[in-house]
């Protein structure tokens, strides 16, 4: 008797925790989505180690190509970076259809390489001896390695 009366609340308690867990997960997911949407509204930004005066000139020559490659509708915003860092470049992505953030990231990274070193480094080349199921996540990570990240 005693044991059954103490055992009974166990089921509702389990269900409560399950529900609470599901609610927390849902709240987390909604928060992540909101954060991601807010992040997507921010411009992409990086710093190029060149003085702004020099860069403004040179970007005149590259900007069209850069924007065409990435499908951005520009313009690039330039600002002098603090201290010795050089120049900050920001690009606002157009609303709606258009280049994905991933493509734009790749283009901006290549633009920085071009502006700082004069050329771009070609991507990693595969020479694979053995493909296995466990290597699939790595292949995906490498494929996204220029387009993903925190830029």
């Amino acid at each position: 008797m005693v044991s059954s009366s103490t055992a009974r609340p166990a089921a509702p308690a389990g269900a409560f925790w399950l529900l609470a867990g599901a609610a927390a997960a849902a709240a987390w997911w909604v928060r992540r989505r909101k954060q991601a949407r807010r992040a997507a509204a921010l411009p992409l930004a990086l710093t190029v180690h060149r003085p702004i005066t020099e860069l403004a000139d040179e970007l005149g020559q590259h900007e069209e190509q850069l924007l065409a490659d990435s499908g951005l509708d520009g313009p690039l915003e330039l600002a002098a970076a603090p201290g010795t860092f050089g120049t900050e470049i920001r690009v606002r992505l157009p609303e709606g259809d258009g280049p994905t953030r991933a493509q734009a990231r790749q283009s901006l990274r290549l633009a920085k390489q071009l502006l700082e070193t004069g050329s771009t480094m070609p991507p990693d080349r595969p020479v694979t001896r053995r493909r296995t199921v466990t290597s699939i996540p790595l292949e995906v990570a490498i494929r996204r390695a220029g387009k993903g990240g925190r830029l």
Partner: protein, 391 residues
């Protein structure tokens, strides 16, 4: 060409791969004379850096001869005998301009992997996984050297290949350890690890005028070797009471600078070992930091701990309390090769820095897998196995 390839965890093979070609106008192609194993490769071999593709060519410490140049290389000519920095750097970004070459913004072709893992991507490294740029390594007949004007250095005629080889990576790393610790006259330095990196850190500390240098390991061959070539004392932590010895040497203060040159596969005390290994294998932590724990514990109040060993991501039982309450400075880095290599080559030419004894076993590249087995298990007094791709 023939090359030593990573096939899978604890599995290397020598195979035939395409010859490298100039892919970028600042590249050079180098015919490899000598290329050597590094403790960092053991972490790849053991699978603790899970960004290797089956077939990747490993190796990042080497000396050779330039056989082909891209159109924009200015400082080199075909035929130059060069030693090359293991880390790849562009020479032009903010980090390179501040001599923080291993942090180069433009040398890692796969930045997203480490941006997501660490918050920002360091530069690239030859033969060191796709997280570090996916460059083919030097355990091969030929290797492509990106940004050759920045990373490759002409070896003075007085310095032979056997000595110059170690300027690539281990001597530069050791020198960086002493430099990050600001070692100079009057400093007492303790170094954990008597592999090539620890031995070179001890040599650098001595050359920079340290008062006392103490090297700690558990392999007597290695401790004997460092005592033979560097003015230092040694402790075997399986036999000696390291803490008591360090306190006695410094009259109760503790070493001013503690350099950790062991890395993520460190071994510790018996219980610590079991706990660390189980967590490591279950991927509950990615690193086993036994030597870092000791370096922090033994460092004097207000001193500096320098982490030269390679770590992948996360570690447990980190002595943050000792670090904070003793007011320590903690520093670490992948080595900034181009910053140190010219000076190291000068020291080598003058005979002040001797390194060739580190290459305890010299063998044809075809015997690479056996060379690594010997190096991994520290068999037959092996400190580093040197491969000759031309024989």
């Amino acid at each position: 060409m023939r090359a030593l390839q990573w096939i899978g965890v604890n599995h290397l093979e020598v195979g035939t791969v395409p010859d490298p070609v100039i892919e970028h106008p600042q590249d050079a192609i180098v015919r490899v004379h000598r290329t050597v194993t590094c403790g960092s490769d053991l972490h790849l071999l053991a699978g603790y850096i899970p960004f290797m593709r089956s077939g990747d060519v490993i190796g990042h410490e080497f000396v050779g001869e330039i056989v082909e140049l891209g159109g924009e290389v200015r400082r080199h000519a075909v035929g130059d005998r060069v030693v090359v920095s293991s880390f790849v750097a562009c020479g032009r970004c903010w980090y390179c301009a501040h001599e923080l070459y291993s942090l180069c913004d433009n040398a890692n072709r796969n930045p997203a992997i480490t941006e997501n893992l660490w918050g920002a991507a360091p530069g690239g490294c030859l033969g060191y996984s796709h997280a570090m740029g996916g460059y083919a390594g030097s355990h091969a007949q030929y290797v492509r050297v990106p940004f050759a004007d920045v990373g490759a250095f002409r070896v003075p005629d007085e310095v032979d290949d056997a000595r110059a080889l170690f300027a690539s990576d281990s001597a530069a790393t050791g020198w960086m350890g002493a430099q990050l610790g600001e070692v100079g006259p009057g400093t007492t330095v303790a170094v954990w690890g008597a592999g090539a990196v620890g031995q070179m850190a001890a040599a650098a500390a001595d050359l920079r005028g340290a008062e006392h240098v103490v090297v700690i390991d558990r392999i007597d061959d290695r401790l004997d070797m460092v005592r033979t070539h560097v003015r230092c004392e040694t402790l075997n932590d399986r036999r000696d009471d390291v803490g008591a010895a360090l306190l006695e040497l410094t009259a109760g203060r503790g070493p001013d600078v503690c350099i950790e040159a062991v890395g993520m596969e460190a071994s510790g005390g018996p219980v610590e070992n079991v706990v660390d290994r189980v967590k490591h294998q279950l991927r509950l932590q990615t690193d086993r930091p036994a030597a870092v724990r000791r370096a922090i514990y033994h460092c004097r109040k207000g001193g500096t701990v320098v982490v030269l060993g390679v770590f992948a991501a996360l570690t447990d039982a980190f002595p943050l309390g000792a670090l904070m309450n003793k007011g320590l400075t903690l520093r670490g880095a992948q080595m900034h090769g181009p910053r140190y290599i010219p000076h190291l080559l000068d020291l080598m030419a003058r005979g002040d820095l001797v390194t060739e004894h580190l290459g305890t076993h010299v063998m044809p590249l075809e015997e690479g897998p056996e060379g690594y087995a010997m190096f991994k298990h520290k068999r037959d007094g092996c400190v580093r196995a040197v491969f000759l791709p031309e024989s």
